[in-house]
């Protein structure tokens, strides 16, 4: 599969990223390299191999349903590029 300029633009749009021409070209190269490697992997015979669902063979990692006091709001909001006293604030997004 070739990664075209259109695919990069599409992927960028889905992630709300704005790439200039140089960045788009750069991404096209990088993504192509990744996808080309998939082609290498695809050559392997995986007929009798279960699809991998997790990189480690662990399961059922769970915690008990016990409330722990939530985080300090001020500390959380402090990470936001834009905020008011009680909320994170983003440019208006109406679907």
């Amino acid at each position: 599969m070739t990664i075209t300029k259109e695919i990069v633009e599409y992927a960028a749009a889905l992630s709300r990223l704005k790439l200039d021409d140089a960045e788009t070209e750069d991404m096209q190269k990088q993504m192509s390299a990744i996808v080309d490697y998939m082609d290498v992997l695809n050559k392997l015979d995986t007929e009798n191999v279960e699809p991998l669902s997790h990189v480690f063979s662990i399961s059922n990692v769970m915690r008990e349903d016990e409330v722990v006091p939530s985080y300090d709001r001020e500390a959380l909001l402090d990470n936001a590029p834009e905020r008011n006293e009680e909320c994170f604030v983003v440019p208006k997004t109406v679907e």
């Binding site: 889905l14 992630s15 399961s59 409330v67 959380l76 009680e86």
Partner: protein
């Protein structure tokens, strides 16, 4: 041409765990914005979500109750989309191996007809946060308290043909989940939300038409209206030579119409992949057997038993049994006073009247069976009439935990008038005061009887036995 409406439902139900699905923040409803949050549920980089054990139990029990096959080995997937209601820019959900599949729900409709709705799958996922779009500036304010509340999404097959099936299905889900104690299913508070996929096709056709999806309609009544509106809109569109466009529509209940939100053409590419942060879940046979063993008696079985043991009609039994709380109040009260028909009478008349009038959640009503039984004994013992009893019952429902039935009846002089002399003299006074009505009666107007009885009851403040008053009025009129 006759048209057939075809619908499928996606129902989101918030599970009543104490904490969120992937962190230990409380799931309590309300609260100041962003005070039930932590670095995990606000999607801070470098945090590790850990799955809540209770979610799996509740989810599996829901799946078993809806007759699903439980996926013994299931896992989570990452659903990527960029919208600020999810701060991580993805939702942890289940696509490839949902925990429950191939279930069904049997419905009983008002006409007595039955129908079966197949469940395609049920999966677990996390709820999103709340967005408040400012009316004053160009900003959206984000409250992530709801973000990470555990949800199950129940996806049906397109088996619905009429609105009544949809509301019966949602009522049944609510009843089942309340009996299991896994959700309160309050549509108005958003703990149960339904998306309706709807298309129309000529009757007899086996192909599906193009469907639209109506999202998050928040009451059964609104759903009925939205379905009526959308099926009419699609039929008229096609009959006028137009084409239905696949789109998401939002129902505006105040205006009574729906409008298109966004076209599905380019927005719906979720690029799912296996969720690396959450290891897979395996469910043992012992666990499943244990959940089957602790399954409570559901509404259908309970209604059957109420009909058989307490002589309730099918309709009354279905209504009472559908609510876990109402069924509990009914059964416990009957145990204490042994008068099922009288208990039924007060539930079907007064409790449902007030619930409807005040828009109360039946599950949150608190009526003490002990006091209810004490009250019923006053009625069945002829000490208080049903008429006067209404006033007592209102206090029984809303008077708080300190309400004292006997003291209230005494204080307000609500005991039944057993003095036949008082009844007779009141009857005489009413007859004397209404010569015109007496003339009518003599002229063959026997319907006027009701008027006399009503007047006497009014004067006696409803405290006399209606049968005794009836007899006294009849006797007095005959003697004239």
């Amino acid at each position: 041409m006759k048209w057939e409406v075809v619908m499928g439902l996606e129902v989101h139900v918030e599970l009543a765990t104490k904490t969120k699905i992937f962190c230990s923040c409380t799931t309590e409803f309300g609260g100041e914005p962003n005070t039930h949050c932590c670095p995990v549920c606000t999607g801070m980089p470098g945090t590790l979500p850990v799955f809540n054990r209770q979610v799996l139990e509740y989810a599996v029990r829901a799946g078993l109750a809806l007759n699903c096959d439980i996926t013994r080995y299931n896992k989570f997937d990452r659903k990527n989309y960029f919208y600020p209601d999810l701060p991580k820019a993805y939702q942890i959900s289940q696509l490839y191996l949902p925990f429950a599949q191939n279930g069904h729900v049997d419905l009983k409709l008002k006409s007595g007809k039955t129908s079966q709705i197949r469940i395609h799958e049920i999966h677990m996922e996390e709820d999103a946060g709340k967005l408040v779009h400012s009316a004053y500036d160009d900003s959206t304010y984000l409250d992530y308290n709801r973000c990470g509340i555990p949800l199950i999404e129940i996806v049906s097959e397109p088996d619905f043909r009429e609105a009544e099936e949809v509301t019966a299905y949602l009522s049944k889900l609510k009843s089942v989940f309340e009996y299991l104690g896994i959700s309160d299913c309050r549509m108005e508070e958003g703990s149960m939300r339904a998306d309706v996929n709807l298309s129309v096709r000529p009757e007899g056709s086996t192909e599906f038409g193009t469907r639209t999806e109506m999202k998050n309609i928040n009451s059964l009544r609104a759903i009925e209206r939205a379905i009526a509106y959308e099926s009419k809109r699609q039929i008229e569109l096609i009959e006028d030579g137009g084409k239905v466009v696949q789109e998401t529509r939002r129902w505006d209940d105040a205006k009574g119409e729906s409008y298109a939100m966004r076209s599905k053409e380019n927005a719906q590419d979720y690029r799912y992949f296996p969720e690396p942060d959450i290891p897979p879940l395996s469910i043992s046979e012992e666990e499943i057997q244990h959940y089957i063993d602790i399954t409570p008696e559901f509404a259908d079985a309970k209604a059957e038993r109420f009909m058989k043991d307490f002589g309730l009609s099918e309709e009354d039994a279905d209504i009472i049994a559908a609510s876990k709380n109402l069924a509990y109040i009914f059964e416990e009260t009957v145990k204490l006073c042994d008068s099922p028909s009288e208990v039924r009478f007060w539930i079907m008349s007064q409790v449902l009247y007030y619930a409807n009038e005040k828009n109360l959640d039946l599950e949150k009503l608190s009526i003490s069976p002990e006091k209810f039984a004490e009250f019923v004994k006053f009625i069945t013992g002829g000490k208080v009439t049903r008429q006067a009893g209404k006033q007592v019952f209102e206090q029984l429902m809303f008077g708080g935990t300190d309400f004292d039935v006997a003291a209230y009846i005494k204080e307000n002089e609500l005991e039944a008038v057993e003095d036949t002399g008082l009844i007779d003299s009141t009857v005489k006074a009413v007859i004397d005061a209404n010569p015109k009505a007496v003339e009518q009666y003599k002229g063959g107007g026997t319907k006027i009887m009701g008027f006399f009885v009503g007047q006497v009851m009014k004067q006696l403040k409803g405290k006399a036995d209606p049968a005794a008053v009836n007899k006294a009025v009849l006797d007095a009129l005959e003697k004239l």
